[in-house]
Amino acid sequence: MTIALQGSSPSISTQSIPNKIHRLKFHGTGEALFGIFILNLLKIILTLGIYYFWGKVKTRTFIWGQTEFAGDRFAYHGTGLELFLGWVKASVLFGGVLALQWVLTVSDHPYIGTLALWLGIGGLVPLAQIGTMRYRLSRSSWRGVRFSFRGAVQPFFLLSLRGLALSAITFGIFYPFYECESRAYLIDQSRFGSSSFQFDGQPKDLFWIYARHSIAMLVGMVVLAGIIFATHDLTAVGNGSVSPLIGFAMFVPFMVLVGIVMLSVNVSRRRFFSNHTSFAGARFKTTITMGNLLRLYATNALLLLFTLGLAFPWVTVRSRRYDCDHLTLTGVLDLDVIQQDAQKATAVGEELSGFLDVDALPG
């Protein structure tokens, strides 16, 4: 991939651009986001829900506007009206599938009805994912240049179908290959202006991440079980003379083990996906570790717990800041000469994602 150099700064050539680390920064405060949430809530209630879409735009405009990359902030260009129209169309699609299942069930074909429901939802999920990518990127800009997504529904649908089927047949062994392939499609088809993103993660690396953790989990379980069997008199357990408290205490090490392994998988996956993504030759790099991610999760959980959920805006801001602080883009990159190359998109997929509870780039 090359950067178009016919921009307004002809004097700059690739040779004169230093290899540089570009950083993200999040400026938003929980207090400001709390204000937005409260005003949104009030307006949603007073309009019996209609304001929801305009409120979503308010929140996003804030989040985008508070996120800075290389000294300039992002901008969000979506409107409440297009989100609302997207929602109307998405509800017709989603409602159509539900109605079909309902009609088939009522007319004594419950199995065909269930099949229709699953096929319908299976078809809508890739549509929602692709639609969300296309809409969200097309409404985001940096220095006045839009992002865009060039992928299409059909190839992604076939890719997903094949990947999920093979994963099922191979009892999950193929899953990392499918996950890598779909991530590559979503990233490779993403653009900022005329320049594109690339994903070069190797499926076998992701496979080993999962394999390593599965083995660790298995070994850990066996070792823990061994320790418990060796230190406790099992005949006593059989007689029911062990108090439930000790039974629970025996369960705790297993929960800790599962927690550590899950956290480690999460960190490894995020590092794998970030570190194998590049933009116009410059590479993303994440500095997240199990330690700092655990600290974020723990403090956020405590905040939510002790405020009965009221700290939600602060938790959102903290997570966003964490993501920005731990991601950099390093390389020889001329950020001044990227050409505008915008794309049209509707909000149908975006709203469909809301119904189906899917996200474009999970993890």
Binding site: G7, G28, Q66, W102, V337
Partner: protein
């Protein structure tokens, strides 16, 4: 921000960064304000003029956020100004004339505004939950087709009461069906009332939309006479005939949708609907609905020449069981038993006009037939 900010900003002008919407290049500019719009001076001496009415402000409303102004459509040019004094001067110029600009609100006013919004929101939620949503449910219920209610009731019944849990004793089922048929003439109602008896340890009875009544073994065995069971059946049948089940379901669904809309995404409305249908057995009827079902239930009993005292007798039995672990499921959705008994007693003035349906001894044997 623009790398080169030394563009000769003065007391009347501000340094800014201009993006042309064609490339990502930054252009250092100076910006001046007048009555009608903003003049942007480029470093090469050229300039452009933006009218206030065509400018969109997308950032700068929050403390510490640079001002971002956009101009043109669909791919706008943009102007970003860091200096906070720009916004206060702009405010003086456009105040009362252009309402589409947003300025940071001073902290005390902001706190007052948010506190006010919070209280109004809470009051509005309260009003909506107490009056708005029930009124909406009452309004919509008559428009729900009976066939939908029936299909929903059957689907939920199949999910909640698996076949292996149902009592299959034909004598018992026939007795219960006879009571039901005597209570409500099947040709005069749009529903087909059907009682399913469940062999479980739960003390409960509930109605599903479209005619399905579910009766649990412990409750059945607690009835001392057919009249007592007729009382329970009459009450549940009235919930169906008065469409209380559908109305409550609509109320719960609207509430769930509202909560979903208020807190982030309207995630999985479909899943929500299924969830709500599953909780039909724990549907909470309003006090009015319960009283109405009691009142109409008594009328049903009298029309069918059952002794309405049976219904009252059953609640007396229930009272003795209060505090027992298995009963709250049934009691929690009903008014206070004591009040209920006195209210029912006031309703039943005339003495029973019919002899007992069968002896209590025979009935107790019949009621126990479910036990496998």
């Amino acid at each position: 921000m623009c790398a080169d900010t030394d563009t000769g900003a003065t007391a009347q002008s501000w340094a800014g960064c201009y993006y042309d919407g064609k490339t990502s290049a930054q252009h250092s500019v100076t910006v001046a304000l007048n009555e009608r719009g903003i003049t942007i001076h480029n470093t090469d001496g050229s300039r452009r003029f933006w009218l206030y009415e065509n400018i969109r402000q997308t950032q700068g409303e929050h403390a510490g956020e640079p001002v971002r102004l956009e101009y043109g459509h669909p791919l706008p040019e943009a102007l970003v100004i860091e200096d906070a004094s720009f916004l206060s001067d702009l405010q003086i110029l456009v105040r009362h004339r252009y309402r589409h600009f947003h300025f940071p609100v001073a902290a005390p006013r902001r706190i007052a505004l948010l506190t006010g919004a919070l209280f109004v929101s809470l009051a509005a939620v309260g009003a909506l939950v107490l009056w708005g949503i029930p009124a909406f449910a009452t309004l919509v219920t008559p428009w729900v087709p009976v066939s939908w209610e029936t299909a929903l009731g059957r689907t939920v019944l199949a999910q909640m009461v698996p076949n292996e849990q149902r009592c299959t004793n034909e004598v018992l089922q026939r007795q219960v069906n006879l009571l039901m048929a005597r209570l409500v003439n099947p040709t005069k109602i749009p529903y087909e009332l059907h009682v399913t008896i469940v062999d479980s340890h739960v003390f409960n009875a509930y109605a599903l939309p479209g005619g399905e009544i579910v009766l649990f073994r412990p409750l059945l065995e607690a009835t001392q006479s057919p009249e007592e069971l007729a009382g329970v059946l009459a009450h549940e049948a009235e919930h169906i005939l008065l469409r209380h089940t559908t109305q409550s379901l609509l109320r719960d669904l609207s509430l769930a949708a509202l909560v979903g809309a208020a807190f982030g995404d309207v995630t999985g409305i479909g899943a929500l609907a299924i969830q709500a249908a599953r909780t039909l057995s724990t549907l909470h009827y309003s006090r009015d609905m319960e009283e109405q079902a009691d009142l109409e239930g008594i009328k049903l009993l009298q029309q069918a020449h059952f002794n309405p005292a049976g219904m009252i007798q059953f609640f007396e039995t229930l009272k003795t069981r209060e505090g027992r672990l298995d009963v709250p499921a049934y009691l929690s959705s009903h008014p206070q038993t004591e009040q209920r008994i006195s209210r029912l007693k006031a309703l039943v003035h005339q003495p029973a006009d019919s002899p007992p349906t069968s002896s209590d001894e025979v009935w107790k044997k019949t009621a126990a037939l479910c036990r496998k």
